[in-house]
């Protein structure tokens, strides 16, 4: 059964721990993977990998209610039924939909006595297949204030899998989103491994515990990488004991390295820049490969 590619998803719980820098470096070290950016809210991987897109498609997800002002009789039934507070009274005694609050549930459309509410598909962004110096990449641009990033994440992953099959690649590396909610769940369900990047801070530990219990919830094997581990050695030790308790393996420890920002400014991955922390990532990669 198992010729499906290995899918390593880099997540973190807490934001800003270094997911993107690490994902890009792992992809560079592999040189034989499909890389995907599933942090569609704040997609930064393209800044390092400079993709050249070979295919681009609009991403539609769900629908949105739009009240036809000609037909609206101003009865207000839509406003009463909407649970998302998305319908506002206009000053012309009619109603309209606040797009950023509309969840596309269709209740107002169904129960408008005048049939005055349209329900077009909602354009939420676009997704791309691209070529980069480390291989093929699948990524997206979510529209401003758009919804459904979970569905977009699922789409990117399925396209990355198709591409892996097509190009005969055995590995997919995914730059995941922060948190533990919908986009994270969409990023990790059914994946083979998650690599949780954390930092030696109280917030980092708090968030790590939550994201590890999420991984356990979905029965996915988590590996842990402590980024900037030498900023607070006591906290790093605590992370190791939390990891042990929760059955996760610390697979990498990356030193604090001010030059990471310089590499980012030069649009290089850490491992291309040959800075001190590069060696720590190479060591982690060697362990990840055989685990």
């Amino acid at each position: 059964m198992d010729n499906r590619p290995r899918e390593i998803v880099v997540i973190s719980g807490k934001g800003g721990t270094g997911k993107t820098s690490i994902s890009a470096s792992l992809a560079y070290l592999s040189q034989d993977c499909i890389v995907a950016d599933c942090d569609v809210d704040a997609a930064d991987l393209y800044l390092l990998l400079k993709p050249i897109s070979i295919e681009r498609q609009d991403f539609y997800s769900g629908h949105i209610a739009e009240i036809n002002q000609e037909k609206c009789a101003g009865c207000g039934i839509c406003k009463d039924l909407c649970r998302f507070d998305a319908i506002k009274a206009n000053n012309n005694a009619k109603f309209s939909v606040e797009p950023s609050s509309c969840e596309g549930c269709k209740v107002c459309v169904e129960f408008c006595p005048e049939k005055a509410i349209d329900f077009p598909e909602r354009l939420c962004g676009e997704w791309m297949k691209s070529e980069t110096r480390v291989g093929f990449m699948v990524h997206a641009k979510l529209g401003i204030a758009a919804e459904n990033s979970g569905k977009l994440v699922a789409l990117i992953r399925s396209e990355a899998k198709k591409l892996a099959q097509e190009k005969d690649k055995k590995l997919i590396i995914i730059d995941g989103p922060p948190g533990i909610g919908c986009p994270v769940i969409a990023s990790i369900t059914g994946a083979t491994d998650v690599l949780v990047v954390t930092e030696p801070t109280l917030s980092g530990i708090h968030d790590l515990e939550r994201v590890l219990s999420l991984a356990n919830h979905f029965r996915i094997k988590p590996y842990i990488c402590i980024n900037k581990f030498d900023l607070n050695l006591d906290m790093s030790e605590k992370i190791e004991s939390v990891a042990k308790e929760l059955g996760a393996k610390v697979i990498g420890k990356i030193r604090y390295d001010k030059l990471v920002t310089k590499a980012q400014i030069e649009a290089k991955t850490i491992v291309e820049s040959n800075i001190p922390s590069a060696q720590d990532i190479i060591d982690m990669w060697e362990r990840l490969k055989v685990n």
Partner: protein
């Protein structure tokens, strides 16, 4: 008045700024309500070490089908936009985690076989520390939908206090829910390519929501001047700059606030409030 602290990119310093601002504001204006709306990973309580007053469970309404009344007509599953209720061999089955609690299935069910029951999605914790009321939402692990919990936290805004919202990172639904009713937004970023990329997105969201906003730049000196140049070109005020100071990183790692430990930064937090022109209408 409600002030939201948000950012496109995670880990830029939202919690640092929200908690230190809450402390300054409490000294200056009296009661402050700090609402931690980063319900997936709330961290304000690590820095505002208050006494826990109580906790409340937050539920959403989800459908439950009474099979003795159900005629297996399929109207509910046809209607549901989220695939949260599906007909399997005629019988409707509810997928709790997918439900957005719109109430549509209950309304379209002709024989009235569907009623709503509570489904737990998380908790709200209430803490008190001096003049700061900290209210934080904590999403249950495995529960995908944070906006309803964020909405529940926001309902607890103080009527007569300054409210400060610690928002989740990103630019989609949870962020919008957290900031859409705020009077003013502080967008936190760092002077790096990632910081700028995600700031531009956050600015676009704030503009789309017609919000007043300013930028706070954290770790100034760690990168370059691209964020400063962008703000200048776009005429966006920079309301706070925090230098790249290892002492701040160490305090943060140990759950300590800047205000209690590095008094030289106090003035810049005070100025944020003055610049925003916070006027507390306390009704007195």
């Amino acid at each position: 008045m409600t002030l939201a602290v948000a950012s496109g990119k995670g880990g830029t310093g939202k919690t640092t700024i929200a908690t230190n601002l809450a402390m300054v504001a409490a000294e200056k204006y009296g009661q402050v309500t700090l609402l931690d709306c980063d319900v997936e990973e709330p961290n304000s309580h690590i820095f505002i070490k208050g006494t826990k007053i109580k906790e409340e469970i937050v539920n959403i309404k989800i459908p439950e089908v009474d099979e003795s009344i159900c005629t297996e007509c399929g109207a509910c599953s046809n209607f549901c936009q989220y695939n949260a209720i599906m007909s399997l061999k005629g019988k409707p089955v509810v997928f709790k985690e997918m439900c957005h609690s719109c109430g549509g299935c209950t309304l379209v069910c002709q024989p009235k076989a569907i009623h709503e029951v509570d489904h737990r999605i998380g908790l709200i914790n209430f803490y008190s520390l001096g003049k700061i009321n900290l209210i934080d939402g904590l999403l249950d692990v495995g529960s995908p939908l944070s906006p309803p919990l964020i909405g529940a936290v926001k309902k607890l805004e103080g009527k007569d206090t300054l409210n400060i919202i610690d928002a989740p990172p990103g630019t989609s639904c949870p962020v919008i829910e957290a900031i859409k009713d705020a009077d003013y937004i502080i967008l936190v970023t760092e002077p790096t390519p990632f910081g700028l990329n995600d700031l531009v997105l956050a600015v676009e969201v704030s503009r789309k929501l017609n919000k007043k906003f300013a930028v706070a730049i954290n770790r100034v000196g760690s990168g370059d001047d691209r964020v400063h140049r962008y703000c200048k070109d776009e005429n966006i005020p920079i309301i706070l700059e925090i230098p790249d100071d290892r002492r701040i990183a160490e305090l943060y790692s140990n759950g300590k606030t800047i205000l209690d430990n590095l008094p030289e930064y106090r003035k810049s937090f005070e100025e944020v409030l003055t610049k925003i022109g916070v006027v507390i209408q306390n009704g007195q």
